[in-house]
């Protein structure tokens, strides 16, 4: 306890009342003044009078709980005078940081919610959550969404399959839908989620275990003047043996109940055959007709599948969009390199190229010869953004392949739509601009619609100006790349 070897002051202010908290704050202010060794401003209760004695003062006579006592000990009289001059201000001071009653001070001052469930509590009318946190955390957030009564689009990848199954079972139990994990695209209630093209409304309901596959389908339908009712993504693994089409089954039921859906299309990365077979049997029992575009060996590619759908709807198949570069490039022999952001497109390229060219390596960056790489695969996206948004990895590989004399044709996907890179063609054109004297041919699949925010024709022009071919149909792009290679042989 400090003893006031210097100057001291104690005073009783009879009948003066301040809230004890205000007094504590005033005491702190005065105690912090220069040269002050101890200060206490308090109502003169027994307890406080004891404390004032502890500070080294005489106990003031006649002071009671309804009186205020001011006690200050300082090193010298000047410091004491200065400290006492601060007492009035300290007693009337308002708490720091208080503003004049504007936004942020009242009970309604809102903070951004920190969990999906907190947001759902604020907005009970919400039905859908979009989860795109890093994979290791995605299950937790998606589970939180389901428990809050929300269906969830899980854009995140790198989610263990056991947890995917847990999510989908929980959703089924609650009458909700989990789209994903690794759901690249969805259209629900007129809104595109994830990577989403601006497509027109219409009669086709899509269940997609494939992100870019569904985008290709929707964009081709759009080019043919046909719109969609909904596109429910289910994640690339949904038709695997482990997951067993848990979400696809739920999604089919929803589309069957949707009066706007006249025809259901299921597109999936190569499925487990038994799962696919069982699903096809179940699909035939729905009131709404279901067609399956399962990208398995021997099955039609996405373009042919779209054409089948159009015929089924009685819509003429149009000539698919195509943009040729200004100067025709002489083909040169060599390897095919497919550098993709879209997994389903990469798989389709791999299947078509294998049929025509023989063995094609897959995702093996060290391979020589024909190679298709999906830069959106899990192993390339740990800790980084999807290549449709951050094309750095693909650009790096593209620059290397441009300079590689053993490469004959480079095949690329350029995906437009909401969520995608704002100028993917411009990004590619910048890399293509520095290519060597005798470059490989460049063929691109331009997946987009006229209504997409990037301006599809403008994007096509950037590609053709850079010497690249651009095809609205990915299968046609692959076919053209194969033709170029075969012609050069």
């Amino acid at each position: 306890m400090p003893r006031h070897a210097g100057a001291g002051h104690v005073e009783v202010r009879q009948g003066v009342y301040r809230d004890s908290v205000a007094l504590m704050q005033a005491s702190r202010t005065i105690a912090a003044a220069p040269g002050v060794s101890g200060a206490m401003i308090a109502m003169a209760t027994e307890l406080n009078l004891d404390l004032i004695e502890d500070l080294g003062f005489e106990r003031p006579a006649g002071a009671g709980p309804n009186d205020m006592v001011v006690a200050v000990a300082a090193a010298d009289p000047a410091a004491l005078d200065h400290a006492l001059s601060l007492v009035e201000t300290a007693l009337t001071a308002r708490a720091p940081g208080r503003d004049s009653g504007g936004a942020g001070t009242g009970p309604a001052a809102a903070q951004a919610p920190r969990t999906v469930s907190a947001a759902a509590r604020d907005h009970p009318e919400a039905e859908l959550a979009l989860i795109s946190v890093p994979g290791p955390h995605a299950f937790t957030e998606a589970m939180d969404a389901l428990e809050s009564g929300l269906s969830a689009v899980v854009f995140s990848d790198n989610v263990p399959v056991e947890l995917e199954i847990r999510l989908k079972d929980e959703a089924a139990h609650r009458g909700l839908l989990v789209m994903g994990p690794d759901c690249g695209t969805a259209h629900v209630g007129g809104l595109g989620l994830g990577f989403a093209n601006a497509v027109r409304p219409g009669p086709v309901g899509i269940v997609a275990a494939s992100g870019t596959g569904a985008q290709q389908l929707m964009c081709l339908l759009d080019a043919a003047g046909v719109g969609i009712s909904q596109c429910l993504g289910v994640g690339g693994r949904d038709l695997s043996a482990a997951v067993g089409a848990r979400a696809t089954r739920q999604a089919l039921r929803r589309l069957d109940e949707d009066p706007a859906t006249q025809l259901i299309a299921v597109v999936s990365k190569p499925p487990d055959l038994r799962v696919a077979q069982r699903l096809q049997e179940e699909g035939s029992e729905l009131a709404t007709p279901v067609t399956f575009g399962l990208l398995e060996p021997g099955a039609p590619d996405l373009t042919r599948f779209t054409e089948q759908l159009l015929r089924r709807l009685g819509v003429a198949v149009p000539a698919w969009p195509f943009w040729a570069p200004g100067r025709g490039r002489p083909a040169r022999p060599g390897a095919l390199r497919g550098l993709y952001g879209g997994g389903t497109l990469a798989a389709e390229a791999h299947a078509l190229a294998t049929d025509a060219l023989g063995p094609v390596a897959s995702d093996d960056l060290g391979a020589t010869g024909h190679l298709v790489v999906d830069f959106g695969a899990d192993q390339f996206t740990v800790g980084r953004a999807h290549p449709m948004l951050d094309p750095a990895l693909r650009n790096q590989r593209l620059a290397a392949d441009l300079a590689d004399p053993t490469v004959g044709v480079i095949l690329l996907d350029v995906v437009l739509g909401y969520g995608a890179h704002p100028d993917p063609a411009g990004e590619l054109a910048a890399v293509l601009a520095v290519r060597p004297h005798d470059p490989p041919a460049i063929v691109t699949a331009l997946v987009g619609t006229q209504a997409d925010p990037q301006d599809m024709d403008g994007q096509a022009k950037k590609l053709t100006d850079a010497g690249a071919y651009a095809f609205g149909s990915h299968a046609q792009a692959v076919g053209h790349a194969i033709q170029l290679l075969q012609a050069a042989r």
């Binding site: 001070t105 001052a109 859908l128 989620l193």
Partner: protein
């Protein structure tokens, strides 16, 4: 989600560009301010989140907590109701031995030895406590009891006995001594012991007779009212104290005590704004104990500090304590005391926050935030933050200025770990040195490590997940 959902609102968590993409389509977007929890906790978190028992278990635990009510039914010595023998002492927080006990806990134990007549001087008491022969130390929580600050209970101390009328469970708490140099803050000088003597010879028996004469007193109802009168039930109990005095005073006057005793009892209760704290705490203890032992539940059932460690108990992990070193509260100091004088956090009074009062009900008692130089807006912020980490809103404890929204209740270990938001506790500060007493009051949050430990404890009991 209906078969054909209308484009109402999408809640987004994660990449901002995807939320931007929705906004660009004129979608209504609610963005979660998601921040990653520590990377190494992702797997135990997912394991607990995947536990198929969890959601139902939490619903059961919360229902039980919210259904519990508390009545003051008796006042009696600890020797009778807790069967404490001579030399037995209960203390606040998780279990601790003398060697690791902090100054205020040691001070309170010394005082209790003197009060019980087991030692003639503080030095003698200290020697006996250090030797440990014929001494039994245990956590209040292990005996259905709670104690503010050091929380020391000895056989001759009189306890408030609260009962849940629906199932007859009981919880216990000592009588509040007032502020300043008091046993629970570690003081043991003669006036402290004399006050304890008076409490066990006059106050306790008078209250016992009064409550027996007039019948059980509904503490839950008074607590609900006090929250609407500016008390948060931890650092501010003024309205609650006056209401309990109002309700008991007629009976106190009628049970045949001398006018001097009646006046002394009335003056003591009316002059101690914290008298009701010792009724709120066991009411909260009854409520939280109702939620114990539901397998799979992630609800925090107890938060308690012994001045050295902070410990929490969780419904799904039984009686196990998850502890971490206690931090020093931030706040305002009495007189010339400063941070160097303050002991680390101590007391069972954080049972109030566990049950949705105290720091969680700060918006109901804006005066409290000034303990840390805060603003009224801080009070709202504190309560609103606590909704992030809790599972329910208390149907009885309603905050008028939040449109009678219920206080946040039911701390969920997973939400604490996910958000990094730690429970807000309003508290008193004891002097670090035994015998000092109170040095201030302020705010404190328990360490994340308590919740980290609890998460691992819950994950151990959940079905294993393959993360390969």
């Amino acid at each position: 989600m209906s078969a054909r959902p209308s484009p109402t609102r999408v809640i987004t968590a994660g990449a901002g560009f995807l939320a931007d993409a929705l906004a660009a389509q004129s979608g209504t977007v609610s963005r979660v301010d998601w921040r990653p929890p520590p990377a190494e906790l992702a797997e135990p978190l997912a394991t607990v989140m995947a536990d198929p028992r969890r959601a139902e278990a939490n619903a059961i635990a919360i229902d039980r907590v919210l259904a519990s009510t508390a009545q003051l039914v008796d006042v009696a010595p600890a020797r009778e109701v807790l069967r404490l023998e001579n030399g037995a002492f209960l203390h606040a927080g998780p279990p601790i031995e003398w060697a690791r006990a902090s100054g205020p806990l040691r001070g309170a134990l010394i005082g209790a030895m003197l009060f019980e007549g087991l030692a003639g001087t503080p030095e003698q008491a200290e020697r006996q406590l250090a030797a440990g022969t014929r001494i039994m130390l245990d956590s209040c929580h292990h005996h259905g009891a709670v104690g503010p600050m050091a929380g020391v209970v000895s056989p001759s101390m009189w306890l408030l006995v609260l009962e849940d009328p629906t199932d007859g469970r009981r919880a216990y708490c000592s009588l509040n001594e007032g502020l300043g140099k008091v046993l629970r803050y570690g003081a043991y000088a003669r006036p402290v012991i004399e006050r304890l003597d008076w409490m066990s010879t006059v106050l306790g028996p008078t209250l016992r007779d009064a409550i027996r004469q007039q019948g059980a007193l509904d503490i839950t109802a008074i607590t609900a009212q006090m929250v609407q009168m500016g008390d948060e039930g931890h650092n501010r109990n003024r309205a609650g104290t006056l209401m309990v005095l109002r309700d008991l005073l007629p009976a106190i006057a009628e049970v045949g005590r001398s006018a001097a005793d009646v006046a002394a009892v009335a003056r003591f209760i009316g002059g101690n704004d914290h008298f009701f704290l010792n009724l709120v705490m066991p009411a909260c203890k009854l409520a939280m104990d109702a939620g114990r032992d539901v397998p799979g539940s992630t609800v925090v059932i107890a938060m308690a500090r012994n001045g050295t460690d902070v410990g929490i108990q969780v419904s799904g992990t039984g009686d196990r304590w998850f502890t971490a070193p206690a931090p020093v509260p931030e706040g305002l100091y009495l007189g010339s005391y400063g941070p160097a004088d303050a002991n680390p956090d101590i007391g069972d009074s954080s049972i109030t926050e566990t049950a949705g009062l105290g720091g969680f009900a700060m918006a109901a008692a804006p005066a409290i935030v000034q303990f840390v130089g805060g603003t009224v807006a801080d009070a709202f912020t504190a309560t609103q933050q606590m909704y992030e980490i809790t599972l329910a809103e208390h149907p009885r404890y309603q905050i008028p200025v939040l449109d009678f929204r219920g206080t946040p209740v039911g701390i969920d270990v997973t939400r604490v770990v996910r958000t990094g938001i730690l429970p807000q506790i309003n508290t008193g500060m004891a002097g670090r040195v035994a015998g000092t007493g109170q040095v201030g009051a302020g705010l404190v949050r328990p360490p994340l490590d308590c919740f980290r430990g609890a998460l691992y404890g819950l994950a151990e009991r959940a079905p294993a997940i393959s993360f390969s």
